[in-house]
Amino acid sequence: MRLTFTVNGRQREADDVWEGESLLYVLRERLGLPGSKNACEQGECGSCTVYLDGVPACACLVAAGQVSGREVGTVEGLANGDKLDAVQEAFVDAGAVQCGFCTPGLLVAADDLINRNSEPSDAEIRESLAGNLCRCTGYEKIMDAVRLAADRRSSSDNTRPDKADA
């Protein structure tokens, strides 16, 4: 089939798509967007997490045929050109990236969390990231990164002059 859908705000097309292949395969192998990672292909690791119509989902569990006409947001869509998004910067600054394989999925999951909840508690962060596995960091730095991103985002959204950037 020819698959037409929106990726990071742009309409994209892919030809000769097998409807039963995963959205993850379409993104990586057909559209040249290797940000979303393939580690398990069974929904366990979260490294393929993308937005599907604004809701985080495992791209490996969405059939290509299901995304026709829909909107997908990938980790590549977080940055504004060369300017990293607050969540991305926080992951770098907090040392939450080691091998980096889990990072794209965590960035999407963390972005979604702080969009919904600008001051997440530690329990809420843990619960929101429970679908993302990291084999390197031991998660503490990831917790730091999400707290930092939430702080920075709420202070940059806040127009009060006494609240400088963290």
């Binding site: 989902a57 495992c58 490996c60 569990l61 299901q66 619960e127």
Partner: protein, 305 residues
């Protein structure tokens, strides 16, 4: 592969009638794993996610009708206050990403003995609405499951909805696994109080070839509570009652040894979960009762046995 994308429920039923071998795909969280690993190569997929009405819920005559395609996240957010037992179970499914896509319809049709949606539906006397171009059938939860990963759907039928009464009393769900997130249950137990019927409902998961109730345990506890007038003036439950309830729940199971656990552990765990959930729901029942009828509250807020 044929990929059918009906835009309405009517079209979906016609597609299923014309292609009885078509495999429905909703959230894909069960079926895509099988396709990715080449365990299954359906000749035809029937996409349920383009049918808006399947992801809705409504209320008629005191019962909720939950569309088979409503993802767990929305079920929790929109119906959690009216269906606390089902919401607790839904919160234990997979991870946020899985709950954003996975549906009750998919959980039912997969018919895994470990499906977390099933025990609370059993405990609340839910019914499954199935439909084909030939018409609608309502199946009691007990009739729906026919064996391990087998159900009562005819080849041309699809699950349209689940019908369930909003909670009238306390409800609980307990699940044992190796961690809180992302585990297939070792075993599960759901308990619902139905004070208006003076009945107790139960549901056991991962405890037998199909999810099932524990009818003897339900009858014993319902009778015990009614005979001692406990529905209207609840007091702490006697230890012996709680213990016997746990034993009867465990006796209703016929578990197996598998990679996740032994039959022996499952049987033991079920009796513990039954006692604990009973403690929780009974505490809540007494709290609700003392706030509704403060004059009946002779015992204050003392702990349940």
């Amino acid at each position: 592969m044929d990929f059918l994308r009906p835009a309405s429920w009517r079209d979906a039923l016609e597609a299923k009638a014309n292609h009885p071998d078509a495999t429905p795909i909703a959230g894909g969280t069960d079926i895509m794993v099988e396709i990715n690993f080449d365990h299954r190569r359906p000749a035809t997929l029937l996409d349920m996610t383009g049918i808006d009405e399947l992801a809705n819920w409504s209320e008629h005559a005191g019962r909720l009708r939950i569309g088979a395609g409503l993802p767990y996240t929305r079920l929790i957010n929109e119906l959690g206050d009216r269906l606390p037992g089902l919401a607790i179970a839904a919160r234990t499914v997979g991870s946020p990403q899985i709950r954003n896509r996975g549906t009750l319809g998919g959980n039912l049709a997969s018919a895994s003995p470990a499906g977390d949606g099933h025990p609370p539906l059993l405990a609340s006397g839910a019914e499954v609405e199935v439909e084909s171009v030939r018409g609608v059938r309502m199946l009691a939860m007990e009739e729906f499951f026919t064996g391990v990963k087998r159900h009562a759907l005819a080849p041309d039928e699809l699950i349209s909805a689940v019908h369930i009464a909003p909670a009238t009393g306390a409800q609980q769900f307990s699940k044992i696994g190796t961690r809180n997130a992302m585990v297939i249950a070792v075993c599960t137990f759901a308990l619902s109080l139905h004070p208006e019927q003076q009945r107790v409902g139960t549901g056991l998961g991962s405890a037998a070839p199909t999810p099932r109730r524990a009818p003897e345990a339900e009858d014993f506890l319902s009778a015990e509570l009614a005979d001692s007038g406990q529905w209207t003036s609840p007091r702490p439950l006697a230890d012996s009652v709680v213990r016997h309830f746990g034993e009867l729940v465990a006796r209703a199971a016929s578990p197996i040894d598998d990679v996740r656990s032994t039959a022996e552990y499952r049987t033991h765990a079920l009796s513990v979960m039954a006692r604990r959930t009973l403690g929780w729901v009974w505490d809540e029942h007494r709290r609700q009762h003392s706030s509704n009828h403060p004059s009946n509250d002779h015992t204050g807020r003392s702990e349940c046995a």
